[in-house]
Protein backbone atom coordinates (compact mmCIF):
# COMPACT_ATOMS: atom_id res chain seq x y z
CA UNK A 1 0.00 0.00 0.00
CA UNK A 2 2.63 2.48 1.10
CA UNK A 3 4.85 1.32 -1.77
CA UNK A 4 2.12 2.00 -4.30
CA UNK A 5 1.60 5.46 -2.80
CA UNK A 6 5.34 6.21 -3.00
CA UNK A 7 5.42 5.01 -6.61
CA UNK A 8 2.49 7.25 -7.45
CA UNK A 9 4.06 10.29 -5.76
CA UNK A 10 7.41 9.68 -7.40
CA UNK A 11 5.78 9.23 -10.80
CA UNK A 12 3.82 12.47 -10.42
CA UNK A 13 6.95 14.29 -9.31
CA UNK A 14 8.95 12.97 -12.27
CA UNK A 15 6.16 13.94 -14.68
CA UNK A 16 5.91 17.45 -13.23
CA UNK A 17 9.70 17.81 -13.41
CA UNK A 18 9.70 16.77 -17.07
CA UNK A 19 6.83 19.18 -17.76
CA UNK A 20 8.79 22.08 -16.26
CA UNK A 21 11.91 21.09 -18.21
CA UNK A 22 9.86 21.10 -21.45
CA UNK A 23 8.28 24.47 -20.57
CA UNK A 24 11.77 25.85 -19.98
CA UNK A 25 12.80 24.58 -23.43
CA UNK A 26 9.70 26.11 -25.06
CA UNK A 27 10.49 29.39 -23.31
CA UNK A 28 14.03 29.23 -24.66
CA UNK A 29 12.58 29.18 -28.18
CA UNK A 30 9.81 31.74 -27.63
CA UNK A 31 11.73 34.44 -25.76
CA UNK A 32 12.87 37.38 -27.93
CA UNK A 33 16.46 38.04 -26.79
CA UNK A 34 19.42 36.64 -24.87
CA UNK A 35 18.53 37.96 -21.41
CA UNK A 36 14.91 36.83 -21.42
CA UNK A 37 16.08 33.38 -22.60
CA UNK A 38 18.23 33.14 -19.47
CA UNK A 39 15.08 33.47 -17.37
CA UNK A 40 13.35 30.68 -19.28
CA UNK A 41 16.37 28.40 -18.90
CA UNK A 42 16.39 28.89 -15.14
CA UNK A 43 13.02 27.09 -14.92
CA UNK A 44 14.71 23.92 -16.18
CA UNK A 45 17.59 24.63 -13.80
CA UNK A 46 15.54 24.89 -10.61
CA UNK A 47 12.09 23.29 -10.50
CA UNK A 48 12.69 20.90 -13.43
CA UNK A 49 15.81 19.42 -11.85
CA UNK A 50 14.38 19.65 -8.33
CA UNK A 51 11.21 17.70 -9.09
CA UNK A 52 13.04 15.02 -11.09
CA UNK A 53 15.53 14.51 -8.23
CA UNK A 54 12.64 14.43 -5.74
CA UNK A 55 10.96 11.71 -7.78
CA UNK A 56 14.18 9.67 -7.88
CA UNK A 57 14.65 10.12 -4.12
CA UNK A 58 11.17 8.70 -3.51
CA UNK A 59 12.22 5.67 -5.56
CA UNK A 60 15.55 5.27 -3.73
CA UNK A 61 14.25 5.50 -0.14
CA UNK A 62 16.60 5.91 2.84
CA UNK A 63 19.84 4.83 1.14
CA UNK A 64 23.18 6.31 0.16
CA UNK A 65 21.72 6.90 -3.30
CA UNK A 66 19.42 9.50 -1.72
CA UNK A 67 22.42 11.26 -0.17
CA UNK A 68 24.13 11.35 -3.57
CA UNK A 69 20.99 12.68 -5.25
CA UNK A 70 20.75 15.45 -2.65
CA UNK A 71 24.42 16.29 -3.26
CA UNK A 72 23.75 16.49 -7.02
CA UNK A 73 20.84 18.85 -6.32
CA UNK A 74 22.94 21.01 -3.99
CA UNK A 75 25.81 21.28 -6.49
CA UNK A 76 23.43 22.10 -9.36
CA UNK A 77 21.66 24.77 -7.30
CA UNK A 78 24.96 26.33 -6.23
CA UNK A 79 26.70 26.29 -9.62
CA UNK A 80 23.64 27.18 -11.74
CA UNK A 81 23.36 30.80 -10.56
CA UNK A 82 27.12 31.28 -10.95
CA UNK A 83 27.02 30.11 -14.57
CA UNK A 84 23.92 32.22 -15.31
CA UNK A 85 25.55 35.26 -13.73
CA UNK A 86 28.75 34.74 -15.76
CA UNK A 87 26.75 34.48 -19.00
CA UNK A 88 24.69 37.60 -18.26
CA UNK A 89 27.77 39.59 -17.33
CA UNK A 90 29.66 38.52 -20.43
CA UNK A 91 26.68 39.55 -22.57
CA UNK A 92 26.45 42.98 -20.92
CA UNK A 93 30.18 43.55 -21.44
CA UNK A 94 29.94 42.59 -25.13
CA UNK A 95 29.24 45.70 -27.27
CA UNK A 96 27.77 43.50 -30.04
CA UNK A 97 24.92 42.31 -27.84
CA UNK A 98 21.67 44.28 -28.27
CA UNK A 99 20.31 46.52 -25.54
CA UNK A 100 18.84 44.35 -22.74
CA UNK A 101 15.78 46.64 -22.58
CA UNK A 102 14.98 46.44 -26.29
CA UNK A 103 11.59 44.87 -25.65
CA UNK A 104 10.51 47.10 -22.83
CA UNK A 105 7.28 49.02 -23.41
CA UNK A 106 6.76 51.09 -20.22
CA UNK A 107 9.69 52.61 -18.29
CA UNK A 108 10.58 51.09 -14.88
CA UNK A 109 8.35 52.41 -12.14
CA UNK A 110 11.20 53.29 -9.74
CA UNK A 111 14.86 54.30 -10.30
Amino acid sequence: MIDALLDLLSGLSLLAGVAFAVIGGVGLLRMPDFYTRLHAASITDTLGVGLIVLGLILQAGWTLVTVKLLLILAFLWFTGPVATHALARAALADPDQPDPLLHREPPPSKP
Binding site: L47, G50, H85, R89, L101
Partner: protein
Protein backbone atom coordinates in the same frame (compact mmCIF):
# COMPACT_ATOMS: atom_id res chain seq x y z
CA UNK B 1 44.80 25.46 11.42
CA UNK B 2 41.18 25.12 12.55
CA UNK B 3 40.02 25.85 9.01
CA UNK B 4 42.32 23.18 7.59
CA UNK B 5 41.01 20.67 10.12
CA UNK B 6 37.38 21.55 9.33
CA UNK B 7 38.11 21.22 5.63
CA UNK B 8 39.57 17.75 6.21
CA UNK B 9 36.55 16.66 8.26
CA UNK B 10 34.24 17.95 5.54
CA UNK B 11 36.22 16.25 2.75
CA UNK B 12 36.34 12.93 4.58
CA UNK B 13 32.62 13.08 5.39
CA UNK B 14 31.91 13.66 1.70
CA UNK B 15 34.27 10.81 0.75
CA UNK B 16 32.49 8.45 3.16
CA UNK B 17 29.06 9.33 1.80
CA UNK B 18 30.10 9.04 -1.84
CA UNK B 19 32.14 5.83 -1.46
CA UNK B 20 29.84 3.95 0.91
CA UNK B 21 32.82 2.01 2.39
CA UNK B 22 32.33 2.03 6.16
CA UNK B 23 34.16 -1.17 7.19
CA UNK B 24 37.22 -1.56 4.95
CA UNK B 25 40.20 -0.22 6.96
CA UNK B 26 42.62 -0.10 4.03
CA UNK B 27 40.22 1.83 1.82
CA UNK B 28 39.26 4.14 4.71
CA UNK B 29 42.95 4.91 5.26
CA UNK B 30 43.39 5.67 1.55
CA UNK B 31 40.39 7.98 1.74
CA UNK B 32 41.74 9.78 4.80
CA UNK B 33 45.14 10.15 3.11
CA UNK B 34 43.72 11.56 -0.11
CA UNK B 35 41.65 14.06 1.91
CA UNK B 36 44.80 15.09 3.74
CA UNK B 37 46.49 15.57 0.36
CA UNK B 38 43.60 17.79 -0.78
CA UNK B 39 43.93 19.93 2.36
CA UNK B 40 47.71 20.15 1.86
CA UNK B 41 47.31 21.27 -1.76
CA UNK B 42 44.68 23.78 -0.67
CA UNK B 43 47.02 25.14 1.98
CA UNK B 44 49.93 25.38 -0.49
CA UNK B 45 47.70 27.17 -3.02
CA UNK B 46 46.44 29.47 -0.24
CA UNK B 47 42.77 28.87 -0.99
CA UNK B 48 41.80 27.94 2.58
CA UNK B 49 39.75 31.02 3.38
CA UNK B 50 40.78 32.54 6.72
CA UNK B 51 38.26 35.41 6.80
CA UNK B 52 34.72 34.09 6.96
CA UNK B 53 33.34 32.45 10.06
CA UNK B 54 31.08 29.76 8.63
CA UNK B 55 30.18 28.18 11.97
CA UNK B 56 28.85 31.36 13.55
CA UNK B 57 26.58 32.01 10.57
CA UNK B 58 25.25 28.47 10.64
CA UNK B 59 24.20 28.62 14.31
CA UNK B 60 21.90 31.56 13.63
CA UNK B 61 18.22 30.37 13.76
CA UNK B 62 17.08 32.61 10.89
CA UNK B 63 19.75 30.89 8.75
CA UNK B 64 17.75 27.67 9.01
CA UNK B 65 14.42 29.45 8.46
CA UNK B 66 15.74 31.13 5.28
CA UNK B 67 16.12 28.05 3.05
CA UNK B 68 12.52 26.76 3.20
CA UNK B 69 11.34 30.33 2.52
CA UNK B 70 13.71 30.63 -0.47
CA UNK B 71 12.54 27.24 -1.78
CA UNK B 72 8.92 28.41 -1.64
CA UNK B 73 9.82 31.67 -3.44
CA UNK B 74 11.56 29.62 -6.15
CA UNK B 75 8.45 27.47 -6.62
CA UNK B 76 6.20 30.56 -6.86
CA UNK B 77 8.53 32.29 -9.33
CA UNK B 78 8.77 29.11 -11.42
CA UNK B 79 4.99 28.89 -11.71
CA UNK B 80 4.79 32.58 -12.64
CA UNK B 81 7.44 32.38 -15.38
CA UNK B 82 6.04 29.07 -16.68
CA UNK B 83 2.59 30.66 -16.96
CA UNK B 84 4.02 33.58 -18.93
CA UNK B 85 5.85 31.24 -21.32
CA UNK B 86 2.69 29.25 -22.05
CA UNK B 87 0.58 32.41 -22.48
CA UNK B 88 0.16 33.02 -26.26
CA UNK B 89 0.67 36.79 -25.74
CA UNK B 90 4.02 36.25 -23.96
CA UNK B 91 3.40 39.02 -21.34
CA UNK B 92 6.96 40.04 -20.46
CA UNK B 93 8.50 43.45 -19.76
CA UNK B 94 12.29 43.12 -19.35
CA UNK B 95 13.70 45.62 -16.86
CA UNK B 96 17.17 46.47 -15.63
CA UNK B 97 17.34 47.81 -12.06
CA UNK B 98 20.02 48.72 -9.53
CA UNK B 99 19.69 47.58 -5.92
CA UNK B 100 21.51 48.68 -2.79
CA UNK B 101 21.87 45.54 -0.67
CA UNK B 102 22.04 46.10 3.10
CA UNK B 103 24.31 43.13 3.92
CA UNK B 104 27.66 43.92 5.52
CA UNK B 105 29.76 40.84 4.72
CA UNK B 106 30.84 39.35 1.39
CA UNK B 107 29.13 36.05 2.17
CA UNK B 108 25.79 37.76 2.85
CA UNK B 109 25.97 39.68 -0.43
CA UNK B 110 26.84 36.55 -2.38
CA UNK B 111 23.94 34.67 -0.77
CA UNK B 112 21.63 37.54 -1.73
CA UNK B 113 22.92 37.78 -5.32
CA UNK B 114 22.75 34.00 -5.79
CA UNK B 115 19.24 33.86 -4.33
CA UNK B 116 18.14 36.46 -6.88
CA UNK B 117 19.67 34.51 -9.75
CA UNK B 118 18.32 31.18 -8.50
CA UNK B 119 14.78 32.58 -8.57
CA UNK B 120 13.48 32.38 -12.16
CA UNK B 121 12.59 35.75 -13.65
CA UNK B 122 15.45 37.66 -12.04
CA UNK B 123 19.20 37.47 -12.78
CA UNK B 124 21.99 39.37 -11.02
CA UNK B 125 24.12 40.79 -13.80
CA UNK B 126 26.71 42.72 -11.78
CA UNK B 127 27.89 43.02 -8.18
CA UNK B 128 30.05 46.14 -7.88
CA UNK B 129 31.07 47.58 -4.52
CA UNK B 130 27.78 47.98 -2.67
CA UNK B 131 25.37 47.96 -5.63
CA UNK B 132 23.69 45.07 -7.40
CA UNK B 133 22.50 45.23 -11.00
CA UNK B 134 19.54 42.94 -11.68
CA UNK B 135 17.82 42.01 -14.92
CA UNK B 136 14.17 41.09 -14.37
CA UNK B 137 11.84 39.39 -16.86
CA UNK B 138 8.85 41.45 -15.70
CA UNK B 139 8.27 44.77 -13.99
CA UNK B 140 6.37 43.00 -11.21
CA UNK B 141 9.48 40.91 -10.48
CA UNK B 142 11.62 44.06 -10.38
CA UNK B 143 9.14 45.82 -8.09
CA UNK B 144 9.10 42.85 -5.69
CA UNK B 145 12.89 43.05 -5.41
CA UNK B 146 12.79 46.84 -4.88
CA UNK B 147 10.42 46.29 -1.94
CA UNK B 148 13.38 44.56 -0.32
CA UNK B 149 11.76 41.62 1.48
CA UNK B 150 14.47 39.16 0.39
CA UNK B 151 17.17 41.74 1.18
CA UNK B 152 15.94 42.09 4.78
CA UNK B 153 15.77 38.33 5.25
CA UNK B 154 19.36 37.81 4.07
CA UNK B 155 20.54 40.68 6.31
CA UNK B 156 18.80 39.13 9.29
CA UNK B 157 20.53 35.82 8.63
CA UNK B 158 23.97 37.37 8.79
CA UNK B 159 23.11 39.76 11.65
CA UNK B 160 22.23 37.99 14.94
CA UNK B 161 24.56 35.04 15.65
Amino acid sequence: MLHALLLWVFCFGLWLLLSGYFDAPLLLAFGALSCALVVFVGWRAEVIDPEEKPLRLRLNPSFIAYWPWLLWQIVLANLDVAKRIIDPKLPISPTLITLKPSQRGDLGRVIYANSITLTPGTVTTALKGDTLQVHALTREGADALLEGDMDRRVSRLEGGG
